[in-house]
Structure formats: structure tokens, C-alpha cells
């Protein structure tokens, strides 16, 4: 975990209000795992808190993030140009289950909306480890950003709310159109999608790991601002409230109540 300043290599809108950002930041990029995130800090000193952004891709030198402009902080980021700098802390959080442990297995990755980018990093890792990867991606409409990249890792299914591409409906509707089999499910997306997958995986008895989102202040595990209710006592406070930033953001679906 490092606090540093990264150099912006690229920052372009790839879909309405969705931006792709590449940052040269070797200290952080080289150690990043799929499912982890970074904190980006606005320059505007009236906005103090970090913006936690999931990692879409990383190599030895560069982080690639895909983020949505959701407020004034991310709007500031969207104005960054090549050569600009950005203050960054990371990599943060735990990440998805170790890919090497799932070689040869059928791994199904679910991504919904701005929950899709971290699944790209996961897809690459599971495919490289020899898993049979299926990506089920949910979008609002025909702007299916990143979907083509997933074809490199395995089968891709798309669901859109308006039915313009793939299955009309949600990711689970799309997945149910197949045999619906998996040895491992990993997912990131809106809360209703994650709840549906929690129930689905429970019914099917499939191990399922969900990446959660919550408002954060420190994003380091100190302030206890971002918590999710857990079935068992959490390791930090022993009160069944785990820290999304530190104990997560990825949790086994059977461990959380939401």
C-alpha cells in the first residue's frame, strides 16, 4: 500500500459519462490484484475524501481504471489530460479468490454497469490460470463498453435493460438462458443484482464472491465508515459489521447480510 502521485497517460470518455483512465504508477500497479481498488484524490481542497475506484487492468507500470462521473470529484478527474498528475493510494482491499486455485474450473463473472470494469481484470487472471471463463455483462442500452475485451477470456453474454443488445433484462436472466452452471461466481454491480446472485448461488450451492460498494472516508480500514452486516462476528470489531474497504470489498456471498 503506497501513497504517491501518478502520471496520467490517457483519459477518454468511452461511453456516456464513463471514462477510461490510464495512470503510470509502478509502485501501485505492480502489486495490484483483481478485485482491489485505489483511492484517487481530487485536487480541489474543498473535496477531501478519496474516490475509491476499482482496478480494471494493471501491469508492472500502469493502472487502467474505468470510472463513471457520479459527482464533482469524478467530474474533476474527467478533465485530466495526458501528462497531468493525480494523487493516489493503493492497491486497497482484498480482491477476488486466487485465480490459480480455480484452474480448470468453470468461473462465471457477473458485471453490472460500472461494476463491469473490475471483472475485466478478474477475467484476465482466471483465463490465464486456465479457468473456463464466462462473462455475463449487464448494461442499460447498446453502449456495451469493455464487452469486446471479455471475448479474449471466454464466452460473453450480454443483458440490456432496453433489449437493444443480447437478452432483454438483467444478468441473471441472461445466465438462466444457458444451463446456468458454474464452479465459482464472482460479481460486481448494483445492489439488487448482487442480492439476486446471493440467492441464486445459495439455491445452486455455487461458491459466490461479491464485490461491494459503500461510502468511504479513509478507505484504509481505520474509520469504520464503510461497513456491511455479516453473518458471523467480523474479525476487527467482533460486531458483525465488516469493513468494506479492508475486509472486502470482496466478500463470500454466504458471509454477508444485505
Amino acid at each position: 500500500m503506497t501513497e504517491t502521485v501518478g502520471e496520467i497517460l490517457y483519459n477518454q470518455e468511452i461511453s456516456a459519462q464513463i471514462f477510461e483512465l490510464k495512470i503510470k504508477v509502478p509502485d501501485i500497479a505492480s502489486g495490484a490484484r483483481p478485485g482491489q481498488f485505489v483511492s484517487l484524490y481530487p485536487e480541489d481542497k474543498s473535496r477531501l475524501l478519496p474516490r475509491p475506484i476499482s482496478i480494471c487492468d494493471a501491469n508492472d507500470k500502469t493502472l487502467r481504471l474505468v470510472y463513471r462521473v457520479a459527482g464533482l470529484g469524478t467530474r474533476e478527474f474527467s478533465g485530466k489530460k495526458e501528462g497531468d498528475s493525480i494523487r493516489i493510494v493503493g492497491p486497497l482491499g482484498n480482491g477476488f479468490p486466487e485465480a490459480a486455485d480455480h484452474a480448470g474450473q468453470k468461473v462465471v463473472l457477473f458485471g453490472g454497469g460500472i461494476g463491469i470494469p473490475p471483472m475485466r481484470f478478474a477475467g484476465e487472471a482466471y483465463a490465464a490460470a486456465g479457468a473456463q471463463v464466462t462473462a455475463v455483462l449487464g448494461y442499460r442500452d447498446r453502449e456495451t463498453f469493455l464487452s469486446e475485451e471479455f471475448t479474449r477470456f471466454g464466452e460473453v453474454m450480454i443483458a440490456t435493460e432496453d433489449g437493444s443488445v443480447g437478452t432483454k433484462g438483467n444478468v441473471l436472466d441472461a445466465f438462466r438462458e444457458t444451463q446456468g452452471e458454474a464452479d465459482l461466481i464472482c460479481a460486481c454491480g448494483p445492489l439488487p443484482m448482487l442480492r439476486a446472485l446471493q440467492q441464486f448461488s445459495r439455491e445452486k450451492g455455487i461458491p459466490c464472491f461479491l464485490s461491494l460498494e459503500e461510502k468511504m472516508a479513509c478507505a484504509l480500514g481505520a474509520c469504520l465508515g464503510c461497513v456491511v452486516k455479516t453473518v458471523k462476528e467480523d474479525a476487527h470489531s467482533h460486531v458483525k459489521n465488516a469493513r468494506v474497504c479492508k475486509d472486502g470489498p470482496v466478500f463470500s456471498a454466504e458471509d454477508i447480510e444485505f
Partner: protein
């Protein structure tokens, strides 16, 4: 030779900088960013006699130059604190200020008694959390209650007692005097200012708790004013806090009358910030020819 040492409630610190309770855990999460040995003291997250689950999420919301929080003092309780957090902090060459919380006098006393034979250097008693109500009223807003609970804690405490005061009062001077009358060795202020944020798009409260405590640079001028008023009202030393982001902010509180300064919300903005503030205080002293930081305490005209 420059001297940054201060003595606060009989405890000598290598410099006047500590962390504000609840913003730094028990230091563990910040060791990758800060050298805890460099801090005058670490002030821990509030600890209660049993684990507290805290409030529902969302618990935090950003506001202009600040933030609201309604964590609700989630903490693992004194048993885990003594097994895990205190031994962790003992590894470092820094003083340990343990923040104590409770709903009732008995609950505070239970924690204070457990801390008696430990290496905690100071106790900071949180009678001012805006997010936890004891019988519908915070202890910290009624001078009679402040004096009574201070005196009860002083009878049991083995360490010096610092009462952490609420800014959500008409007269901070009156509350500060009540703590002094109760026998407090020092006071710390300000805790957060009660606030509220509404998401106008969703027409919903930003925090599950509806109200929360406002912190950050937005409240710094209020902190400076209240530290000054408290310093004028009492003879016991003050741990000042509220919106400290830079060394200059810290010096402002010292000039207003604080002996020590705590850094809180700024830790979220910049995990290494305490190190910069300590270095910045030295630079300021050098620049202004100040040999001893104690010369700055209350030195405003």
C-alpha cells in the same frame, strides 16, 4: 536547538501532535504511511466496556471542506482492545491516549478501571459523541452532568483524565469550567458539530442516522474560537482539534491556547498528513525564531 516537547497533563510528549479519536484506528492501518514513533501521541478509537456495533450505513458523507459521520462508535470493546490494540501501540515510542466511551456512568467507569494497570498514558473521555445518545441527552451538553461524571471518573482513574467536550453548546466556557471543577486534568475540543445532509436527487438523508458530526476544515474557525474561549475560562491544559489540515492550522490552535493538537479528518484526505504537520511546525518555528514550541501556547494578541 529547537524544542518541540510539551508536557500535557503531566505527560511529556516529543511534540504537540496527536491523532483525533476515530480517525486513526489504533494506528495499525496507518503504519504504512506514518512513522508512529514520530507522533507526540496516538489517540485511539473510542473503546467501550463491550463491543458496540455502531449505526447502519451509509455512515459518512462528504460536505464542502468537510464531512459528516455517524459511525456510532463501532468498537470491539475493552477485552479486544487490551489483547490486540494496546500491545500493538506499545511497540512504538509514542504516548498512548485511550479514548473511552459509554452510555452510562457505570459503562465509562468499567472501561476506566480496566485501563488502570495498563500502559495507557492518558484517558480521553468522550462525553460528546453526537451520534450516540444516552437517555436522550449527551452527557457533554449539561454542565452539571459534565462535572458529575468527571468527578466520578477521576475517583477511579489511574491515569490523567482529559474530558472531550462537545461544541454543540451555548457556552463552551461554562462546560470547560464544569470539567475543571469535576477535577479533569485537561480538556479536549472540539468534537464534531451536529449536521445533516440531504440528497436532493433521491430526496433522502445522506446518512442512515439522518444527523451526523461535521468535521474537517469547514469547522476549523469554530474550533479556534472555542479553544480560545475555553483557554480563557480554565487553567487546565487543552488538546485542541477541529479541521486541522496543515501545520499552520495546528499552530493557530496552539496560539489560541492549546498545548497539544489532534489531527482528524485530514488523515482521510492525506494518510501521511501528520508527518507533514510535525515537520511544518518545526519549519514554522525555525522561520520565526521560536526555540520552544511552548512559547506559542496562547501567544495571540
Amino acid at each position: 536547538m529547537m524544542n518541540t516537547e510539551v508536557t500535557f497533563c503531566g505527560v511529556t510528549m516529543k511534540n504537540p501532535v496527536t491523532t483525533a479519536s476515530g480517525t486513526f484506528g489504533s494506528g495499525m492501518e496507518y503504519t504504512e504511511f506514518c512513522d508512529l514513533n514520530a507522533l507526540g501521541a496516538v489517540t485511539t478509537k473510542g473503546v467501550a466496556h463491550v463491543p458496540w456495533p455502531g449505526n447502519d450505513a451509509p455512515r459518512v458523507a462528504e460536505t464542502p471542506s468537510g464531512m459528516l459521520n455517524a459511525i456510532g462508535l463501532q468498537n470491539p470493546g475493552i477485552d479486544v482492545f487490551l489483547e490486540r490494540d494496546l500491545p500493538f501501540l506499545q511497540q512504538f515510542d509514542t504516548k498512548i491516549i485511550v479514548n473511552v466511551c459509554g452510555h452510562t456512568e457505570e459503562e465509562y467507569l468499567a472501561v476506566v478501571e480496566r485501563l488502570a494497570d495498563t500502559t495507557a498514558d492518558l484517558l480521553e473521555i468522550n462525553i460528546s459523541c453526537p451520534n450516540v445518545k444516552a437517555g436522550g441527552i449527551s452527557f457533554g451538553t449539561d454542565p452539571k452532568e459534565v462535572e458529575r461524571i468527571t468527578s466520578a471518573i477521576k475517583k477511579k482513574a489511574a491515569q490523567p483524565v482529559v474530558m472531550k467536550l462537545s461544541p454543540n453548546v451555548t457556552s463552551i466556557a461554562e462546560i470547560a469550567r464544569a470539567a475543571e471543577s469535576g477535577g479533569a486534568d485537561g480538556i479536549s475540543l472540539i468534537n464534531t458539530i451536529t449536521g445533516m445532509k440531504i440528497d436532493v436527487e433521491k430526496r433522502k438523508f445522506a446518512l442512515a442516522n439522518r444527523t451526523g458530526g461535521l468535521s474537517g476544515p469547514a469547522i476549523h474557525p469554530v474550533a479556534v474560537r472555542m479553544v480560545y474561549e475555553a483557554a480563557q475560562a480554565v487553567g487546565i491544559p487543552i488538546l485542541g482539534m477541529g479541521g486541522v489540515l496543515t501545520a499552520r492550522d495546528a499552530i493557530e490552535l496552539i496560539l489560541a491556547g492549546a498545548t497539544m493538537v489532534a489531527v482528524g479528518t485530514a488523515n482521510f484526505h492525506h494518510p501521511e498528513v501528520t508527518m507533514n504537520i510535525i515537520a511544518g511546525i518545526r519549519s514554522y518555528m525555525e522561520h520565526h525564531g521560536i526555540r520552544d514550541v511552548k512559547e506559542l501556547i496562547g501567544a495571540v494578541s
